[in-house]
Symmetry: D3
Subunit: 211 residues, 6 copies
């Protein structure tokens, strides 16, 4: 904890003074353009990876970057999305998975989380991704299967997002776009889903090609 | 979106190479000591404010940094906490609210979110904080009342955390400590709840006093 | 009731003897190829409209031909689908709406069902369809708007179906196909969704074109 | 699917023209007298068995012709009933089970549906019927036990219906009558529950006796 | 509180020594024959009114002596009943309402509890009783209507009890009997439902007639 | 049952006449100062143990004297508390456990209630108490462990009570006090939790010390 407190003191004495104008402006309101939904994993720092400034990413995080299908009874998973879309008026929604995700490993091996009833239940929301990955790629295993499940999970959660009335409304009017990303920790890269090819492709490569 | 993609490219070309060893090490596992529960607000960047490195903060984020009371039926709010406490074995849990929080404003003025059924429902989890703030400080209004509610909300969510069996078990054995924080965006400071005084006090001041 | 009993007696004395072999065969098992999900409306008779024999259509019916997004807690809407897909192994799933649907009228005019709390709640599952129809066709009203909502509702329920793990698994492997239909009562026709054009087109017309 | 499309074309060219006046009248409204709740089983065609015309039976269908006990939170099972009773003003409600029902077999042998979590959960709504059948008839097994469970299940679902406020209100005023039926597929007959004898008796026999 | 503590001291010094043998025997187990479900109202003391000894009545109490219809998801209302019936093997279940019941008044006048969301929701479980009372006795109002609702509520909760699988099983085998009672506070009498007459009749009168 | 009816007749002829004035006064209203939450166990008679008169204790009883954490969806456990605190304005809330509690034994040995799904689910609300007891007292077993769990359970349910908004509001304003009690059946004594020592202490001893 001392380590964290030192960090706060350093932030206050070194970082804050340099960006004081930004923080002053932000102190009375936010107007982010992006709703970022990503894993709670400690290795994922969406601000760092996208080099975003405070004020740019409205960020929901939970184990497995999961968005359960819409349910009127479940406000936990719908309130923040409703708020981002309706009140803040974000124009981009990113669901971002990542390499080596513990939640995806748990979804692939339910017996490994059998002693964790809540985790096991939560990962039911990724069960369709596991089923799809196994069904589409019957030969994969290990790392490659984990990657396939991670990809299917991002696509599934985007599917789930479309069942949220607030999201469906802005999608129909074209006011919001959905994006599926995977952050590769060891490679320092983002792979984005390309709906045309149906594949996850490196943003670096896409950008190079576009240049 | 182009802005974000540029950010990713910049991360990849400038930041990643500098910390390559760290990312390589992280690519195969995490062992964070802290579970950080904070608001989805775009102005809150827990990694920046605590000057943490990737790998240090397992981070759950939703509108209002809310932890509903434990319910077996609600895995959304219990799975990530169960995972952090039981699988990762974090030793510190921080619930971190912040100044100018839209969720707290909504909790204070339910009529302002009446058209947002899911948000309104979600903020019921902060109703006890509003009731407590009004009851303890009948004279407050405006900014001061918002601050009081923000503080009570952090304390309420810590109370809710104690109802989670996974948390209760490690609290009883002293393996985990709970912390209530408020991030003051305009001041660039963290105020931490001091159980002895019952007040939220600046980490800067505390640290100065300790020195 | 006398009327119905007379109908049963007529069935027993006139219809049953003619198809006795079929009923005998069916008395020990079913192997339908189609899961038909349609409205409870008394004017909709899926067996009649598709000229199907007993044994061909596994049929789920409720007000509004609604399939809520998957939820582990809600067995009402998932059990029959899980059974049809996993146990019976159907290869086609049809969601069939219809003209003049009271449920769609209720979804369009929530105030008209305000005194019916359960109906009002149930139609929340069509709220995204209303939002999408209004958003895509801001000029429509009356009959035309009702038709647009009925179409969007069929597409929305197909979207919801894709969130059911049992369905996602067989879709990924290509074992099942989804179909969106609308039954036009006064015209005696079925309009089927054509994913290529994005429109609902008369089966009669499609068939004529194919001939 | 081609088979079904052919059926639709046949309906449109041969059946529809013959009953055009009926369909025209129905195109603007329904006023059924009967709410029929029956199994989704493909072999059950309530319109055929009762020789009903379109417009006569408001029909809810799910695996096992189950009506869960009323719960405010569960709109799936209450909305269609509330609509039929309150808006349409039906005067008869029939719960109709059938011979060789897969759902009843599953309820009798829970281990056979253990791999189908949603089906298993749904059939909990028939658990009291299994308990009652075993308790009343400790010696039965096989076919006879299945028949006893099917009967108890129809009676149980009628019991459940009485817990729905909309139904309780019209029952108290005598505006609606409840009926328990079982459709015997191989015999082409309906057995109706006779509250006086406590037995399910053939409509054919009852009718003959009344003549 | 002092008053209660004095009561405990009095119990310990005066009452306990007199019945020491009973309490000693009870200290290692209970075997009650009756499950008593009654209102939380402070004026209702089931032990006093039935002159029962400790160990005789397994007692569930809540506002309105309500037993919601069975629901697998709702353990609050099913666990104690399941325990009493299955583990303790009670042979009688009494649902006991009472005169001047605040819960019944709330059920009759929903607007009076509109500011109490949980109470309002809970009393939905008595809505069918209000509907039935108004429907059967359109002319009643005031005291007489309250009495009618109280009676219908007892009968409704007995109906709900029959939907609990544990209860259904023992009812089918005749191991348990259900009783509907109303305690008239001012008259010091119990009125028991007589299934033959359909009326609630004074136990005193019944007993006198039987003598 | 005859035994109970005799008890009622005895109450009516012997007890009621003696306290007629009290019952007359109570016949039109209640104003209890205490909300008593205790186990449904037949050996627990809160009126007897506290020597209370009718009208003094608003009493909620269920297996294990459990108060689940607040949940908007769960009115069973919140309505009676909301009513007692908000409508009746009680000033004391007592959660009272007891020696030899079957529910606590079930919580300690989940395998012993595995065949009782609802009981098993309900006792999940005491899981944190078992975890805390085992964690704080790793050496205890048998009677001593049962006593420790019973104590932790009372404290846990008090913790849960604090998550109820209606309770939080009156606690913040100091209008209500919480008490944790354990009734020792064989000793005829009440042990009350002393927040200063963190121990449960005999009311007799406390009272003697105070004298
Ligand atoms: Zn992850
Ligand atoms: Zn915030
Ligand atoms: Zn319809
Ligand atoms: Zn069936
Ligand atoms: Zn009452
Ligand atoms: Zn107990």
């Amino acid at each position: 904890m001392d380590h964290m407190i030192e960090g706060v003191l350093k932030f206050r004495s070194e970082i804050f003074p340099q960006r004081k104008a930004l923080f002053e402006e932000l102190s009375t309101g936010q107007s982010p353009e992006v709703l970022m939904i990503t894993c709670a994993d400690s290795r994922v720092d969406p601000g760092l990876v996208t080099q975003s400034q405070p004020g740019e990413l409205f960020t929901c995080r939970n184990a497995g970057n999961i968005v359960p299908p819409w349910s009127r009874a479940d406000e936990s998973n719908t309130a923040s999305i409703e708020y981002a879309v309706t009140v803040l008026g974000v124009s981009e929604i990113v669901v971002c998975g990542h390499s080596d995700c513990g939640a995806m490993k748990g979804a692939l091996a339910p017996e490994s989380v059998a002693a964790l009833p809540q985790v096991a239940g939560w990962l039911e929301n990724s069960r369709a991704a596991v089923a799809a990955a196994r069904s589409r790629h019957p030969d994969l295993e290990g790392e490659a299967l984990l990657r396939a499940v991670t990809e299917e999970n991002v696509l599934l959660q985007l599917q789930h997002l479309r069942t949220h009335p607030a999201v469906a409304a802005v999608l129909a009017s074209g006011k919001v776009r959905l994006h599926g990303w995977i952050y590769d920790i060891g490679a320092g890269d983002i792979l984005a889903h390309n709906p045309d090819t149906g594949r996850f492709e490196s943003l670096t490569a896409i950008s190079a090609a576009a240049a």
